[in-house]
Symmetry: C2
Amino acid sequence: MSQTPKHSADAPVPTSTDVARLAGVSRATVSYVLNDTSAVRISEPTRRRVREAAEELGYVPHAAARSLRAGHSRMVLLPTAHVPVGPLYSRFLNEVQWALRALDYTVVQYGSLGLGADEAARAWAELRPVAVLSLGEIGLTPHGVRVLKRSGAKAVITLGPQRVEGAHALVMDQRAVGSAAAAHLLERGRRAIGVVVPAEPGLDLFSRPRLAGVRKAVSEGGADQPARVEPLTMAYDEESAARLAAAWRGLGLDAVYAYNDEYAQLLMRALQDAGVDVPGECAVVGADDLLLGKLLRPRLSTVHIELPTGREIAELVDRVVRDPDGDVERHDLMAAHAIGRESS
Amino acid sequence: MSQTPKHSADAPVPTSTDVARLAGVSRATVSYVLNDTSAVRISEPTRRRVREAAEELGYVPHAAARSLRAGHSRMVLLPTAHVPVGPLYSRFLNEVQWALRALDYTVVQYGSLGLGADEAARAWAELRPVAVLSLGEIGLTPHGVRVLKRSGAKAVITLGPQRVEGAHALVMDQRAVGSAAAAHLLERGRRAIGVVVPAEPGLDLFSRPRLAGVRKAVSEGGADQPARVEPLTMAYDEESAARLAAAWRGLGLDAVYAYNDEYAQLLMRALQDAGVDVPGECAVVGADDLLLGKLLRPRLSTVHIELPTGREIAELVDRVVRDPDGDVERHDLMAAHAIGRESS
DNA sequence: AGACGGTGGTGACACGTGTCAGTTACGTGT
DNA sequence: ACACGTAACTGACACGTGTCACCACCGTCT
């Protein structure tokens, strides 16, 4: 066990054939024993011999060969985004992973970094996953969906701000977030609302609908007291925030919805440093209901987002895998409600 | 193209045999053409016919069958942690992924959620990765390393606080972080240092060495002015922080090193709410040099950690894959230096 | 004595691919 | 006229696994 720790590199990887030879049985028997196939009866002494042989050789089955033979796998592909993901998102992702594993799926995150949308889909298809669950950003075209389905994927599910032709869609309508924020500000009597739009590329898939949601809420707000909406581009760094804050007084705004809590924190700090009173002079509201919001002074108002649970997602995947020809579902989810704290 | 969008489920997945049949050539020719095998000459007209046939059928090669035949893959397995990862870590992970892909490796994140260490290693080994790069928490035993190498993994590399027998180790000595923080506080004249130890399980792999580093720096600090170290357990939520802050005066401490910036933020806020003056009454220092530290008032002192770049890691992986029998390296990295701001 | 049924196991094929060794067809040199 | 080289392609095997159909053996019943 402790000898020859080094040149194990040239030792061939043990296969079920090696196990069979060592146990003095056929390869078929080995397969039956190690997979606990109930339809075939193997005597207990033989079972033990096989198990011991496998143990001694350190035999580990070859997943690729297995799924090649089986004609299918239980692999769920989870394309990873290349955008900087927030804490809310990464917690959700972990939850989904757990739930899928509980249903006996093999979850694989696979990055498509640097590839085009269709090239990425092709690369995913090579792995022959039984399901593809694309979270957040799309990066999936109708053509990509066809390629995946053609390669045997039973379920292609997108969870994001918009739907993709051919795929099951869990539409998270980000506009609801903007609407909730705007409604909250209007209710508090604000009438000139700035909307921070992140300068970072990749986030616009989220930020644009959120902005649209603000506009919608404002226009529906009733004509009794018309309000104004002003988009403001800002990057996630101190200089950009300071620049925006310095110009604040000239903008004539009395409120700002800052995309999410992290941007809100950054901007609020810059505003305070520039001598702008929050919430007196300007109300600030973020989104995502992160812990940090409660730590700020004034405490940050935010929009809490109700995401589906990991288990719900996993069960949807499982349902679609079992019945791929079911109707293409389109669920609208994402309930959002504002939480008023001290900053608004 | 737009017809039969539904019952594509029963259509068999096209293989290279189908392509060959459609193009009127042998399967071997298809393989040569699609892989651009330079050693074999195929006429240009034939090449085109094959390519067109593949395109028409939507042929995508089967990665499993390919690597089965080849006897090896270029897959790098990146076990994902189940601990809540910080922003520093997740940025680093993305960087590594990029760099590996640039070297033509297929990066796969694979979670071992809910499995024991050795069961997880076995599950990884089934995928027959050419390399395993375990970041952060270990979750890898010497036995697990043997299983992986036995299954054909050329490189097993751990990057974490401690090394694992048999694997190449990039040791990030977390003690350096604690030492830097303590040295900084001592230099500023503090003599009674509290050390926040997260209550969250899974983080103790980091927090324990950091605490040890504090102790080391204090004991080496010279006997001219002996200092005291006091471990303090705290969870990452407001109640826990408030509880600790309420008892603060009784502890007789004049400084605290709070594991990382996020815990420091939480504690500092609680201390301020409890009327403890920072830094007058108590100096606070965090770690990881996150952006949020600069946004706090007083600005948070921190310990900046110098991580290896993604490219360095990727090149190490590549080197070990090419020469697996090279010496088991043990790199000590992680330079850490304190950044004094206003909170200490 | 021969048919019968159950126990315990095996031989052989298929999955989709890459690649080596051959095999045509054809022009060329002596 | 015949060997020879070369361009262009193909037949067949191997990779490691799961599973179906089949087989040998042995005790039991009529």
